[in-house]
Amino acid sequence: MKILVCISSVPDTTSKINFTADKSAFDKNGIQWVINPLDEFALTKAIKLQESQGATVTVLNVGDATTEPVIRKALAIGANDAVRVNLDPKDSYSTAKEIASVAQNGGYDLVLCGKESIDYNGGSVPGMVAQLLSQPFVNASVGLDINGNEATAVREIEGGKETISVKLPAVFAGQKGLVDEKDLIIPNMRGIMSARTKPLQVVEPTSSEVKVQGVSYDSVPPRAAVKMVSPDNLDELVRLLHEEAKVI
C-alpha cells in the first residue's frame, strides 16, 4: 500500500501574526515554521499504517526551498521519502493541482491531509484534490482503518459521528482525534539522522493557474479594556451581560 501525506509548512501555533506595512502580505519575519498540526495527525496515522500494514509513506509539500526543514522533520517522524513541488503556493486550487498531479503519477492508494492549514484556513485543498483525481473524499476524519482495497473511516458530523466504508483509492482529511495527541511522534536522534539521507525529490510545478488572490490583510482589532467585576458582586456581572452587552 502506498500512502501520500500532504503537509503544509505553517507558522508555529504560538506565533503572533503580523502583516507587511502595506498590508499586502503576511510578514514572515521571525516566524518559526512547523508541520501544520492537523497534517501531523494525518502523518502519524500514516506511520501507524506503515507499522501495521507495511505501507510506504511519501510526504508531499508544495513550497519553495525554505520548507525543506519541515519536510525533513516529517522524514524524521518516519516517512519513507518526500516530494517537494517547487512552487510558493498562492491559493488552494494551484496547490491542489500540484498535489493531484503527483498523486496521479505515483499511483497512491491513499492521500491523507489535514482538514485545513492553520495559516490560510482554506480547508479546500483535500476536497479539490479528490475531485481532480475523481476519488471519494472523507472530510473531518477521526478514525481510519484499512482492509485490502477498502477503508473504514469515522468522520465527525455536527453533533455526532458517522462510520463509513470507502473504496480505495480515496482522499481523507484528518483532524484532532484521527490519532491521540499522546501518540504524535517526536523524532528521536536516530530518526533525525536517517532523515538526512532519505530521498527528497524536487519537482517543478505543472501549472500556475490561480483562482483566488489575497488582496490585503488586517489584524484583529483590540478589544476595549476589560471591565473587572468583584466575585462578591455577581449581580453586577449579570446586569452588564443583560443590559450592556445584551447577550443574556
Binding site: P37, L38, D119, G122, G123, G127, Q131, G214
Partner: protein, 315 residues
Amino acid sequence: MAVFVYAENINGVYKKAAFEAVSYAKAVADQAGETVTAISVNPTDSSDLLYKYGATNVINIKDEGLKNFSAKAYAQAVSEVLDGNTIVFPHTTDASSVAPMLAVMKNFSLITNVLEAPESQSPFQVKRRAFSGKGFMHAKAEGSGVIVTVSQNAFGVKENAVSGSEEVKNLSVANEDTKVISHEQSSGKLDLKEAEVVVSAGRGMKGPENWGMVEDLANVLGAATACSKPVSDIGWRPHTEHVGQTGKAISPNLYIAIGISGAIQHLAGVNSSKTIVVINSDAEAPFFKSADYGVVGDAFQILPALTEKIKAIKG
C-alpha cells in the same frame, strides 16, 4: 442571473447555518439586483422556512441514492441543478466538503470562511477569516464563477420574507464509492459551532468530576459546552469540545471561559466571539487582556452563584 445557495439540512431539517447562508445569499443578490434560488437535498422541512430569509425559488432535489451523505455525490447533484455563477454554502463540515469538489467540477473560484457581505461583486472580493482567527484576508476571485462558504455565526440570520415557489428535481446520482455503516447523533446536545452562547472550561476545574457545575451554567443559558486543549488532551472532555487553533473556531455572541489562562492558541479559536467573560483565580491570567468582562475568584464558588443569579433573571 440568480444567486444560488445550498440550504443544508440534517435528516431533512434545515440547520440554522442554512438560514444564515440564505440570509447571506440575499445580501449578495440585493447588491446585484438579483433573486435567490436555494438548493436542498431531500428536505422534509417546508420551503416556507427559506422564503422567510429571502429565497424566491427553492429547488428540492429528490434522490434516494443521496439518503446518506457523500461529498462527491452531493457535489454532483448540486452541479446538475446549478444554473448560475454564484453559490453560497454554510461553512459546516458537510457543506465545506461539498464546496471544493463543486468548485473543481464547475471551474469556479472558492472563497471559504467569509465573514461579511462582499466588498465588490465584479470582481468578487470579500473579507474572510485567516490565520485561525488571528487575522483577516480580503480575497478576490479570478474568473466569473464563485463559491463562498459563510463562517457560522459571522453574518447572522436575517429575516427578509419574500413570496417564493418550489420546484422538485428527481435525480439519481451514482453514490457507489462510500457506504454508511453507522450513524450516531447525540440527541439534545447543542451544536458547538452554531451555539450563540458557549460555556467553556479549562484545567482550573481540577478534574472531569467537576464539570457538572459547568453544565449547570450552560443549561440555564441554553449554551453549548466547550473546553481548552489540555483538558481534551488528558481526556477530561471529548476532543469534539476543544476550541482553539487546532480544535474548533467558534464565534458565539457570548463566550464564558472558566479556569482557562488564555494561551494564544486558545484565543485564536474564540476571539471572534462578540462578548467574552473570563473567570479565573489568577489575576495575571493573560486571557483577561482579551476579555470584555473579568472576575478574579474561585470558580467553585462563582459558578453555582452565577448559575442561580442567571436562573433568576431568566425567570
